[in-house]
Amino acid sequence: MLTRLSGGRIYDPAQGIDGEVRDIYLRDGRICPPPADPAMADAHYDLHGQVVMAGAIDIHSHVAGGNVNNARVLMPEQHVAQQARYPGLPFGGSPWSTFDTGYRYAEMGFTTVVEPAVLPINAGHAHAELADIPILDTAGLAILGNDDFLLRLLREGAEQATVNDYVAWTLGATQCLGVKVINAGGATAFKFNAREFGLDDEVPFYGVTSRRILNALQRAVVALGVEHPLHVHCNNLGVPGNVDTALRTMEAAEGLPMHLAHVQFYGYGADGPHGFSTGAARLAEALGRHPNITVDVGQVLFGQTVTISGDVMRQHAARGIARPRKWALWEGEDGGGGIVPFRYRAGNFVNALQWAIGLELFLLVDDPWRVFFTTDHPNGAPFTAYPELFHLLMSRDHRARWLARIHPEAADACLLRHLEREYSLYEIAVMTRAAPARLLGLGDRGHLGPGAVADIAVYADIEDRGEMFRAARLVFKDGVPVVRDGRVVNPVRGRTHAVNPAYDRAIERPLAAWFDRYHLQRLDNFRLDPGRLAETAGAELVIH
């Protein structure tokens, strides 16, 4: 079937198209070249006056896995009173279910979302959950860096080639798209009762530094040709003065590709009367000097949320600020995590400055190909608050209204008043479509060229950009209309993307021995098989 989308204004940075009126044709779930005669189309959508972009891609959003799922259960009081949003759709009356996640992302025009923290031992669970997110294509990033096998390899001075094999094996065993490192060595150090852990601190017992772990993993990702660079959650998250940690981590990358996640949480100086100040300008300036580095922001927006992190040391340190006053921490094989509910308040100096620092980063970094649109859902804010963030980025007036409402000292202590930049639709399309696809190595999406998957979002061109991006007028997933007039009409199933880089299978011998010696599972039972995942968890994997 041939479908024609005519008359829309196209924003497709991958092809350099900036608001031109063009027709787009879809066939068999893909975008295809225009036919000789437009009348050949079997279906026709008149999109005159509307904005057309590829489906949006979220590179860092905690949407699945045990930590997320336990956070759901920790606070039933937060969503127990909500009404059904999607009557008639499967689990359309279940707030904060995987189903609700798929519906609400799709309504905003998102079609691909990456869960950035899959602990290998929890990967089976994560895939089962990802498979139950309707509409969206998904992927996971496998967490390494606190795994005892790697730490022992490094302690024993193993060759980089061995680390590479191990990382490749992990990606295949967990069916993930890339590698994430969370406070490298920090979760293990916490097991030895360390309460602080910096880039050059050594993991007790193993005697290797966080920097060494980071370097080994980064080199492995590069050597294996994994498209998505090592995805790094730095040391010292949330600690005043930690902008130095972020800058030193950038230096530690030694010119190789590295992605720094939710850098707003590392944009902190320790100056001023409150010992807390913006480090956004320093971060932005350093990014200018390090073209190998990409970042996502992890914007804070005001309201109740729950922080969910594999940085168990950080979450333990944050237990005192839990609102409501309850929190949960867990430790498991090769990692851990914590859940700390929190309410960001505009009238609180620190929270207001966190909000401002995120926006400063968005506005000071003038390359939308290297700064990514995230709230670190739900850590800075739930993804459902994205419309507000689009509005803030695209309207100086909207920012000014907020600056008059936040803690006055924070408003004075930040640069935001002086930043006049407003994101254009083209830049939004770069940041949420073209650049994420490139960063993830998913070349078949994030653009509207022939051959791309027909994941397409159509928006009304209205002045309130928040309202515009809150509810897409039309969303296609693989060429199928899934959202009309801001409402999900067809909850199709999504797929999960992964990479299985080649490796020397000799690594499996020491790994099998390691599992027999220290795990409660054997290697063969630990590894996820795509066929069995499809049969037992309903997961449809696409291996790149």
Binding site: V73, G93, W96, S97, T98, H125, H316, N525, E535
Partner: protein, 432 residues
């Protein structure tokens, strides 16, 4: 793709029959008889025997006690459940695919969902949702715990291989030999399993019902509060002081329990004391809880219900929205109070948990040898996950998942297939 050929004897396979989730079983098929080369485990032995017995005289679907085709039985189940006004979907002792399909069915029916061991689950959840907690996985206990305090010796009966697999592994990451063991229980030492006695545990004569007193006493002492009582919960001051000293000296003490051992009102208040003690110990040192449920896939049912509904079990889908209330929607209460008018019982791991003896019409989808006190209106036998078909299931600590294998040819559909067919036959309801 299906896992068409049964696993060969060359592989080791995981076991779904208790919360420990051992995966070192070597299955052997001798004709239709299934045997496992594994250290002795009464739970596995019983489950394997039940699976063997089931295949020697394979049960088929029944409607009103009379043999029926699978399609007729599914249609009868759909009619019965679809015609009910307030059905209860419970049991949920199945693999994830079965549980997930049961949740879809419950959603379509506007039913309430619970698990056979829902009460035990809620006991732990009450602690988690009240104050939160700090926990360790079974693997962390295996590799790092140097002092294990067990509340209730019944835990060892529920996890027969706990001592060998977790407490005395051949090697640990920390190089140690395994934790010292303290058991709070009034059981006589000789009633402990041999594998546990071999660890030379210290038994503190504190019954589980009074464990809260002892734990509270320890918390108070740790907090530096004046404690006048000469002991608590049945243990004397000297014994408790010694235990506190050990907890403080240990590098990674862990307090473990099965919530099923605390089957009395307000038992969560006792477990809350353990959570508080661990929080306090972590002020300067390290400690954790190992809060386990009752097995029979309760961890998988809890996790799956959470991502489908946003809530744990005790959730009702009436009126098209998920409504969580573990007291109001407790399965046993609904049945006793006459507030459920039909029951779907899913239990395919073992002959137990059996459907409760109730007067409301019952559809039982379960183990071919499911223990039935009375003939249900509809009985549909299904394969046993991990023996008759592949499946995914959580280990009891909820962190790891087990990739269950198909070990033998068998005539039964999976629970997911049967429930999916029933779902197809339910007329769509607008509000759901």
């Amino acid at each position: 793709m299906t896992d068409a050929s049964p696993a060969t004897t060359a592989v080791t396979v995981p076991c779904p029959f208790c919360a420990l989730g051992c995966d070192d079983l070597s299955p052997h098929l001798n004709g239709t008889r299934l045997r496992f080369d594994a250290p002795e485990c009464p739970i596995l032995d019983a489950a394997a025997a039940a699976a063997d017995a089931a295949l020697s005289a394979p049960a088929g679907p029944r409607v009103g006690g009379a043999p029926a085709s699978l399609e007729a039985a599914c249609a009868a189940a759909a009619g019965l459940l679809g015609g009910a006004r307030a059905p209860l979907v419970s049991g949920l002792a199945a693999d994830l695919a079965g549980i997930r399909t049961a949740l879809h069915l419950a959603r379509a029916l506007g039913a309430t969902v619970d698990h056979a061991h829902g009460d035990a689950l809620q006991r732990n959840l009450a602690v988690f949702q009240g104050d939160g907690w700090m926990t360790a996985s079974l693997g962390e206990v295996r590799n790092r715990c140097d002092l294990l305090v067990v509340l209730g010796a019944g835990l060892f009966r529920r996890l027969p291989r706990l001592a060998g697999r977790v407490l005395r592994p051949a090697e640990r990451l920390d190089g140690g030999a395994g934790p010292a063991l303290v058991i709070l229980d009034t059981a006589a030492p000789e009633t402990l399993p041999e594998s546990v006695r071999a660890l030379e545990p210290e038994l503190l004569p504190v019954p589980v019902a009074r464990a809260g007193e002892a734990l509270g006493w320890l918390r108070a002492l740790l907090a530096g509060r004046p404690v006048m009582a000469d002991g608590a919960g049945g243990a004397g001051r000297a014994a408790l002081e010694a235990l506190l000293a050990r907890l403080r000296a240990a590098r990674y003490p862990v307090i473990a329990w099965s919530a099923a051992e605390f089957d009395f009102p307000h038992a969560d208040l006792i477990l809350e004391q353990a959570a508080g003690l661990v929080r306090s110990l972590n002020g300067t040192g390290r400690a954790a809880l190992l809060p386990l449920g009752a097995g029979d896939a309760d961890a998988s049912a809890h996790q799956a219900c959470a991502w489908h509904s946003g809530f744990s079990l005790g959730t009702a889908f009436a009126g098209g929205r998920a409504a969580y209330d573990p007291h109001l929607h407790r399965g046993e209460r609904l049945l006793a109070a006459g507030e459920a008018d039909a029951l779907l019982w899913l239990s395919c791991l073992r002959p137990d948990p059996a459907p409760p003896e109730v007067s409301v019409p019952t559809v039982a989808v379960g183990h071919p040898g499911l223990r039935l006190a009375a003939e249900p209106e509809v009985f549909i036998p299904v394969g046993v996950p991990g023996i008759d078909h592949a499946g995914l299931m959580h280990r009891g600590d909820g962190l790891a998942t087990l990739g269950l294998r198909r070990l033998r040819d068998n005539p039964w559909p999976t629970a997911a297939t049967v429930l999916g067919r029933i779902l197809e036959l339910i007329p769509a309801r607008e509000e759901n």
